[in-house]
Every structure is written in structure tokens, then in C-alpha cells.
């Protein structure tokens, strides 16, 4: 019988949570790396037992862990992330030039074809790649070096490269997103990059439609249709039909279009999910009611989903890497909260139940669909 494996990164360790295809009963393993922040874990699409984890600490810096047995055992691999050449400067909060400094890995994206190749999105924003299973990391410096880097600036959470999407249809094409610089695309495997922020409008910028500087919180796509992108921006939910060349707003009837996560149904490319958050200064759901919103029309028309979610006194946040979908039928949708809950919907969002309720604050959720 098929099943699922959740990879949950928290502020105090990693948890590997499994269930069969019914997704009703869960086995929790962890904490792995107790006491460390686990920003992200993700498995290889071609070898699901190969999992990579970003383990970080204010005291001890960055580690990368690798498992070859589905998260039962782990070994540390390379943690040397050195910017290519002279790092240069980006904008600091006060507008002054600030040198690029590596802080942590926010996101690990294994290759679609090779379990030893992984991309890492880091803070201060850059993308690195390993081709030897994590032992050595090399910056794809064309991103930082393409010209707009000195105008990038950190958001409240730091200047992080938090999203990496690999296009399975167009060889060499990748999308990344940075807070607060915006979205970028490469069509040559990471050698050269272009900003893809036309159509974004950010009122916190002196030029709201600037080429870079936008606080993109997350982008998502359906793997069968990667040229259609969805974005949760600082404010605004956006959509692009042309691989990011132009974005249009699809916030529609959302009660607030601030939020962090966005994801796409595994089988329905026009069905998307967001978790609206009250505002940029109040990072919790409206009126203490936790709701997921689903659009079956690729945006604009949104349906509130609340069944099984707390509808009073709920003041958690859902961070940008903390939503995932499985590929079972019906599609499972998962998200984790800063309050330590992980919720699952085994019916594409119609109803929800808690997988776990009292973990440390959840930083990331990924799910693997197992044979």
C-alpha cells in the first residue's frame, strides 16, 4: 500500500512522520538533531530514501545532513559555502552598502534526475550546487553577479533565497525567489539569470514597479505545467502564464492577500492553496481563525476551507516553506505552524486534521509519496 513521509523542519530539530495512504494514523520519529534549527529537508525525486537536511545554529553555524535510508540515520556532509570571488555588497536596512555574508541554508532542492545533485538557497542570497551528494558546494554566481545584486536588500527574516523550482519540461530552466529582491529565472542551468518581476507592485518601494526589490515570499508551480507560476508576495497573490515574464494579480476575494505559503494541487494545475495572514505587522490569521483558501480557477475566486482547523484563539503563522502536497488520489495537502502543529487534509483541502500538535515552531514541511 502506498504511503507518505512528512519531513518537518522545526526550530528545535527535525521530525520524520509517516503514514499509510489513508493518512489517518501517524508515526513520529524525532527530534533528529535536537536543539538545532532545521530550516528545510527534502528528498530526491529519483531516490526517495536520499534526504538532505539544512541544520543550523546561531552558535555553531551551518551543517548539511544526508540520509540514505529515508531519515532513519544521518551523516554530516559538506558545509563550506563560500561565495565565488569577491562577494560584493547589497543594500542594508538603512540603505548603506553591506558585504555579502553567508548565514544559513534556507532551502535544499534535489535534482529531478540525479540524487547527488542538489541546489541550496542561502542567506545572504545566493544559490549553490553540489554534484557529489553534498560533500562540496559551488556557487552559481551568475545570479549574484548579473547586475542588480547591489540593489537587493534583506526582509525582516534576512536576505534569503528561499524558493528553487526546477523545470522538468525546459532543460536548464530554474526559477528562484529572494526576499527582498524578487523572482529570477535561468534558462541555461544557472550560468545567467534575469529578474522576472514585471507586473509586481510593491508599495514599500520608492518605485513600486522596480525591476528588483520585491519581497516575494514563495512561488509554486505544477510540475506538468511549470511555465505557469503562482506567487505569494509580501502582499498580493500573483500568477504568470509565461514563466514569469509578466505577472498579474489574482488575489480576488481573499480576505487578506498577505501570507507566506502557496502551493498547487498535485493533479489539478489550476487548483492552488494559500493561508491568508492578517498583515505584515500581525503575522497570524484573521480573527484568530485558521483558514486555508483554495482556488480551483487558478486564482481570483477563492473558497475558505476551515473544517477541522481551529476557529478561535488561533494566532500562529505559517512560514513560507511550510506547505506541501502529496500525489496520492485524493491529493493530500499539509502545512505546519509556528505553534508546532502540522495539519493534513487527505481530501484536497475539504477537511483537515492535526498530524501532530505540539512540535517546536515549524519552519518547513515537505512530503514524499512512497510506493
Amino acid at each position: 500500500m502506498s504511503g507518505v513521509r512528512l519531513l518537518v523542519g522545526t526550530k528545535k530539530g527535525a521530525f520524520v512522520i509517516t503514514s499509510d495512504g489513508k493518512r489517518e494514523k501517524w508515526d513520529v520519529s524525532g527530534p533528529h538533531f535536537g536543539g538545532w534549527e532545521i530550516y528545510h529537508m527534502k528528498g530526491s525525486p529519483v531516490d526517495p530514501n536520499r534526504i538532505y537536511a539544512s541544520q543550523t545554529s546561531g552558535w555553531f553555524g551551518q551543517l548539511v545532513q544526508r540520509s540514505n535510508d529515508g531519515g532513519k540515520t544521518w551523516e554530516p556532509v559538506g558545509n563550506k559555502f563560500v561565495y565565488d570571488g569577491v562577494p560584493g555588497t547589497h543594500q542594508w536596512y538603512d540603505g548603506t552598502a553591506h558585504p555579502w555574508e553567508f548565514k544559513r541554508v534556507w532551502h535544499l532542492e534535489p535534482s529531478l534526475t540525479d540524487p547527488d545533485t542538489v541546489y541550496a538557497g542561502v542567506e545572504d542570497a545566493a544559490i549553490f550546487r553540489t554534484t557529489d551528494g553534498g560533500q562540496n558546494w559551488e556557487e552559481l554566481s551568475g545570479l549574484r553577479g548579473h547586475g542588480t545584486g547591489p540593489r537587493w536588500q534583506p526582509g525582516a527574516g534576512g536576505m534569503c533565497l528561499h524558493t528553487i523550482l526546477l523545470d522538468q519540461n525546459v532543460p536548464g530552466r530554474m526559477f528562484i525567489a529572494i526576499s527582498a529582491a524578487g523572482a529570477f529565472r535561468t534558462d541555461d542551468g544557472g550560468k545567467t539569470w534575469k529578474p522576472i518581476n514585471q507586473g509586481l507592485n510593491s508599495k514599500f518601494l520608492p518605485d513600486p514597479t522596480a525591476e528588483v526589490g520585491h519581497c516575494v515570499h514563495r512561488i509554486a508551480t505544477h510540475k506538468a505545467r511549470p511555465g505557469v507560476l503562482f506567487m505569494q508576495k509580501h502582499w498580493d497573490v500573483m500568477r504568470s502564464e509565461n514563466a514569469g515574464d509578466l505577472w498579474t494579480e489574482v488575489s480576488g476575494n481573499l480576505p487578506t492577500d498577505f501570507g507566506f505559503v502557496i502551493d498547487v494541487h498535485a493533479h489539478e494545475p489550476e487548483t492552488i492553496y494559500v493561508v491568508p495572514i492578517k498583515s505584515d505587522s500581525e503575522h497570524y490569521p484573521l480573527e484568530g481563525k485558521l483558514s486555508v483558501y483554495r482556488s480551483r480557477t487558478g486564482g481570483n475566486e477563492w473558497q475558505e476551507l476551515t473544517k477541522g482547523l481551529p476557529q478561535h484563539d488561533c494566532y500562529v503563522n505559517v512560514l513560507r516553506d511550510a506547505m506541501a502536497v502529496d500525489s496520492l488520489d485524493k491529493c493530500g495537502v499539509y502545512f505546519g505552524t509556528t505553534g508546532g502543529q502540522v495539519y493534513c487534509s487527505a481530501d484536497a483541502g475539504d477537511s483537515w486534521s492535526a498530524v501532530v500538535q505540539n512540535l517546536p515552531g515549524v519552519l518547513s514541511v515537505e512530503v514524499q509519496t512512497l510506493p
Binding site: 536543539g35 538545532w36 545554529s57 546561531g58 552558535w59 555553531f60 553555524g61 551551518q62 551543517l63 554530516p76 558545509n79 563550506k80 563560500v82
Partner: protein, 106 residues
């Protein structure tokens, strides 16, 4: 080149990472003056336990990570030059070289 047998204590998280107990005993080469330094200890420590690379000092600059401290013989040596000679009690193994996580955070 002569060596000294040095005792090193690591913070709990680094003991777990390196899969060692409360104290490590290891051979550290002495410098040309016959002294042991912080740099020589950390070089030897990272050579024996490569998973610790980058966790105590920065990969590139070898600058001590901000929330770690180096203590020995009831002295804070954190701000000394990494090439300054350490007390003979450390070089002789009488006293351990302590790598300590600063009290911070929650």
C-alpha cells in the same frame, strides 16, 4: 616536530555531532618555539573530526564564531591571538582547553 597531548572539552551539541564524550584527548603539534596555540589545537581537532569544520571558526577566515568562547586555566582566551602560546598547563595536559557556547537565546 614534537607534539603535546591536549585535553579538549566541547559543547554538548558538538560532542553529539563528533560522536565523542565529554572530553577529547589528542596529539597536537607544537610550534617552532615548542608552544601550543589555539590555532594548532583547532587545526588538529578539525583534522580528526572534519564534521566540526565551520562549527567553531569560520571556514574561510578562521575567525572564532561569535557565540563561542575559549577558556583555559580559569582565563578567557577568546580574544587572544590564535597564535598566542597557551598556558603550559594546557600543553602538558594538566588543564583542558574548553570550547564553550555562550549563554544566549532560548
Amino acid at each position: 616536530m614534537s607534539t603535546a597531548t591536549i585535553r579538549v572539552e566541547l559543547p554538548a551539541h558538538l560532542r553529539t555531532l563528533a560522536r565523542v564524550g565529554a572530553e577529547i584527548s589528542m596529539e597536537v603539534p607544537r610550534n617552532a618555539e615548542g608552544r601550543v596555540t589555539t590555532r594548532l589545537i583547532l587545526d588538529a581537532l578539525e583534522a580528526s573530526y572534519p564534521m566540526l569544520c565551520g562549527t567553531i571558526r569560520d571556514h574561510g577566515t578562521h575567525k572564532r564564531r561569535a557565540f563561542l568562547r575559549f577558556f583555559a586555566c580559569a582565563e578567557d582566551l577568546s580574544h587572544e591571538s590564535p597564535d598566542a602560546p597557551l598556558p603550559e598547563e594546557v600543553a602538558s595536559g594538566k588543564e583542558p582547553f574548553l570550547i564553550v557556547g555562550a549563554i544566549a537565546g532560548g
